[in-house]
Symmetry: C3
Subunit: 466 residues, 3 copies
């Protein structure tokens, strides 16, 4: 194994040649990572990454869910249960377990990302296998100790122009302040993610709201609560934030008027919210956040439609984010109408929509984004962030929404070393899509170069105001 220069390109020779030319023109563009989940402390502290298992296996829910689905217990992967079941702490053993199950990832994007990361970062060109697991572990572990593998050095080596983290509304953003104070030139921006103080069904909602109000000195009223959000958004913005992000169970929005909202806020604050109130409160808050975006210019991202913590027994033992979040079918058309009636026609507004239900690309999202000035389509998300998923998303959306109602790529990852691989995958898939349009004469090649650069760089820069 070694990364083939033509990987992911069309198979037919003439289209492949076009894709190769297009890719060559964008492969060197800087990375804009306007939405993701890397840890700001990495950039603030610039400490070495720990062992290979902690880097590549334990925190990657794509990896752990696949292993778990095939009978590997989470404890064997170093993920601690709340009940005190013994957990594997030897990175090397976890890595060996990973290597012995590597065949499971055939045909998955995890395979592509890992192999690209291993070769790009560590010069490893062998296929991971039980026979070489120890040797590769040593190679990686040794490299991680070197200065050029520290977060900031990698940032520069990866040619990252700007990266956004995702941060709780009540986070003090100490790491971001530390980065700014350090004089390091790497651009690491926070993003305002208020779910914990917006979703009454989240564990920690009431504490979160209390903290939010305390941080801002606001009263526990609807107006005080909204002011607190405005204040925190301004604080995030002062540290470079250009966007907010909202991970809701559905895409429901509402616009129920001040009096009803005041009463609703009082109810959800008073105690455990009934499900209808919780849904309505989240829905109302999306519209409120949109109105605030209209004022403060923060770009709004909505990531809806994941049934979180679907596996109840596992959630009890291990908590959240263990691979048991499952997409559900969506209806954006009715759900978004209240928000769109409020701000959809504002040309200065940007709401970026994501979906885990790809059936809505052609049916709902492309028609919506191809009409409303405020709407843009986010890139294929999570399970759809894959070569086939990205290809389908283009095929489903471009004919109705065009390229210019989309916003380029998000890597959306906490797997730092995979960032170049993910962006390169997206660039390859997009260049392949464009190459097919050129090869069957739907697009001229000179235009394809422009679009390729827009998809790889310019659209993200513009949409996210980077």
């Amino acid at each position: 194994m070694a990364l083939h220069p033509d990987r992911l390109f069309p198979i037919e020779a003439s289209a492949r040649a076009i894709a190769r030319r297009l890719h060559e023109s964008v492969a060197g563009l800087p990375i804009l990572s306007p939405h993701g989940h890397t840890d700001p402390r990495w950039y603030a502290e610039d400490a070495p990454f720990p062992d290979p298992a902690t880097l590549f296996v334990k925190p990657d829910h794509y990896v752990t869910r696949m292993l778990y689905s095939q009978g590997v217990r989470l404890e064997e992967l170093g993920i601690p249960a709340r009940d005190g079941t013994p957990v594997e702490t030897d990175g090397r053993k976890i890595w060996r377990l990973f290597a012995s199950h590597w065949y499971l990832f055939r045909g998955t994007p995890s395979r592509l990302w890992l192999e690209d990361s291993l070769e790009r970062c560590f010069g490893i060109t062998e296929r991971l296998a039980p026979g070489n697991a120890d040797r590769l572990y040593d190679t990686i572990a040794e490299a991680l100790g070197k200065p050029e593998f520290r977060p900031r050095a990698l940032f520069e080596r990866f040619n990252i122009e700007a990266i956004s983290t995702t941060d709780s509304a009540i986070d003090e953003l100490k790491s971001h302040q530390q980065i700014l104070a350090s004089g390091w030139k790497g651009r690491v921006l926070p993003a305002y993610r208020p779910d914990v103080v917006v979703d009454p069904e989240r564990v920690g909602f009431h504490d979160g709201v209390r903290t939010l109000l305390a941080m801002t000195g606001q009263l526990a009223t609807w107006q005080g609560y909204l002011s607190a959000h405005r204040e925190r958004r301004a604080f995030f913005k002062s540290l470079g934030a250009t966007s907010t992000d909202h991970g809701h169970a559905s895409a429901s929005t509402a616009d129920i008027g001040t009096a009803a909202a005041e009463a609703l806020f009082a109810r959800v604050l008073a105690g455990p919210a009934v499900p209808e109130d919780a849904e309505l409160f989240r829905a109302q808050m999306l519209t409120e956040m949109a109105r605030m975006s209209l004022d403060d210019g923060l770009v709004m991202q909505i990531h809806p439609g994941s049934y979180r913590n679907h596996n109840a027994p596992l959630f009890q033992r291990f908590g959240t984010d263990i691979g048991a979040d499952i997409p559900v079918g969506m209806d954006y058309v009715r759900a978004l109408k209240p928000l769109l009636d409020a701000v959809g026609n504002e040309p200065g507004m940007t709401v970026i929509l994501f979906t885990l239900d790809e059936t809505v690309f052609s049916r709902e999202l492309a028609p919506l984004a191809g009409h409303y000035p405020a709407l843009k389509l986010g890139p294929p998300w999570w399970f759809l962030d894959s070569p086939e998923g990205m290809r389908r998303a283009r095929e489903l959306a471009v004919e109705t929404a065009g390229f210019y109602n989309t916003v380029g790529f998000n890597d959306d990852t906490r797997a730092y070393l995979s960032i170049p691989a993910r962006h390169d995958t997206a660039r390859r898939v997009d260049c392949s899509y464009l190459a097919r349009l050129v090869a069957d004469h739907r697009l001229d090649e000179d235009e394809a170069y422009e679009v390729a650069a827009d998809l790889a760089y310019n659209l993200a820069k513009k949409a996210y105001k980077l």
Copy 2:
């Protein structure tokens, strides 16, 4: 730019060669346009078309919605708001605005249709751009003044064998009468579209029903109302109509019996209908229309599933048909059952189903059309009338419904000059699909020629009784 003879064909050389041969065999077939929205006055009056902007930009909702989505105001495109906001009236300025945004249409069917129209009709082989906008405007404007660019001349040049318009049930069909009286041989047929007198939630419903009853001298009873429909259908038929068309919010049908229907009619006629009554009335009327079709032989078309006028503020200012109709998810299986129980097994009956939700092609529509003698699948509609949309529709439906439960192509357009481009696009995509079946040995080439001609011409002729 110049239209490439191999556009839209498979990229691989052997499949492309097959597609080319197939397309060559159907490219010259006459156009049957059994469903569309051209204005019958064009053929009746045979007046010159106005300026290029009025021809290509203002009335094309595919075009105006894309420009609007990118911040162009509708007034700038010459679309008047009800509030008297000044509106652009200079066609040249609108055309320049269009030209400066032409890049937005990369990858969209609008791009293909316009470029084909410009080259086919006006010999224009340059890509539209700010730099040539004025010159191309002049070229088109000059041509439009010539006799060979009048509607009837174009009809003949386009090799249209028959075209159907879509006409309100209470339209007097004066233009159709005028065409017939004129001695011109062009075949322009009306189609019976009763939405305004069938949908209690349409603006104008009550006036419409009053007019319908007055035109036919019927009483305001359920039986009188049904008789009025029968009479109007007979009138449409006498002027050449072979079909009816029904644009409903959902595909719901009902068959509630005479007594319940009488009471329902009385309720919807008495005043503003409650939503449940409105839905039930539309549902019942689909079944009634189906029964009338069984009697009078008019082919029934159902175009359901568009959320009309989704953008409330824009609807208030500009009215309907401004690009804010958005598809919603569909369930045809339960919705159509009452109608199918009533007429689904009639081999003499034809109900043509359309969808904006392509997920139903493989799940619902192909299984339904591959079973019920009365059902046929319409071609990909609206946002799905595109190269990728058409390809997917074939891939999703043919394996279950075959080719012979489909009805060929509809251009469904009010953009007269795009009609040859649209039919040619469909023929190219179908020939490409067939070429792939031949190239991987699922179909013999001699059969592919037959199917290509059936899809391009024979199926529409038979299904629509042309």
Copy 3:
């Protein structure tokens, strides 16, 4: 016509060459048919098959539905109505009718299966047509009289290693006992299908439950009823069964506790169940069956989501299974949660999920199967068991679930002679999918050989414990 050795392979030459190599490596593997509907009496009695029409036309609902959709009456195909309408009994006439409509099957898998069967079994290399219908009828009829065309001889010729039938929970499995007693080495296994005693809305439910209890000497209580199931499952297992199968209207599962289940059982047993009770009982029984599988090791298959007997008038005249079962949209995520909370984390458990709604592959089933140890994805089912359907299923599911959370192919057929054709079609489509991954460098060719063999043979063997 003659079967092309490259049929269904990628069109592009280099990918085709890879697919050819991969296919060559698996084409000779034995057939495992772990789910299907062949009649165990065939193997028990080893009598000659009757005439070609009875073999290829009358019992094949793919065929009869297509002919019916185009106006052929079921009686003309030899399918008797309950009302005594005269029915065609001359196989030759039915075969001629079939031949004259053979063009309808262009582009369908029925075309591929029949042509493969005709050439593979009878050496027929002509395309069926009115002109050769009689001659081909005679060729087939003559062959069917020979010993080598008897069921057991074909079983061996087809290289079937094991085949599972699908059998009612209250079937005495006489044929299976007869096969075992006969000394014949062909492995024919029963599968436990309890729908008739689990679904209160099935005709025969109450009689079925009575029979079930009588066969096992159990009382008409919830506990007695469950014990009866356990006993019957053990009996099936003693005759070789390794699986159960459940054909429910939805994928709903429930886990309502013993007291509520006892009361529910009493209600559904007392008389016609209200729809809510019927749905809840089916839902609860899926979870009970899953628990029993955990105990006795039978693999559980769920085939949900078909709207059975959609065509009411035809159901009245002809009964079930006449081509009028239509898929509906599905939500597996919420529906399966109770069952998954109960057994989803059991690594020793196998629940194989099927779908007729392909939108759930990427949205729900791949994410679920890529997480829960107990879940596996079944192959594309029924209308999706087709070249395009299988390709899409791989493209939609593999990136998230991988190959190893799937279970290989099921032919799911009662058309015995088509079994080799169906398995070969699946192997060709899978090898083509793998070839594309190799050709664009997502997978190494040595791995593709392994995966090809796993998909063709090993995964079915393991998942179904064969």
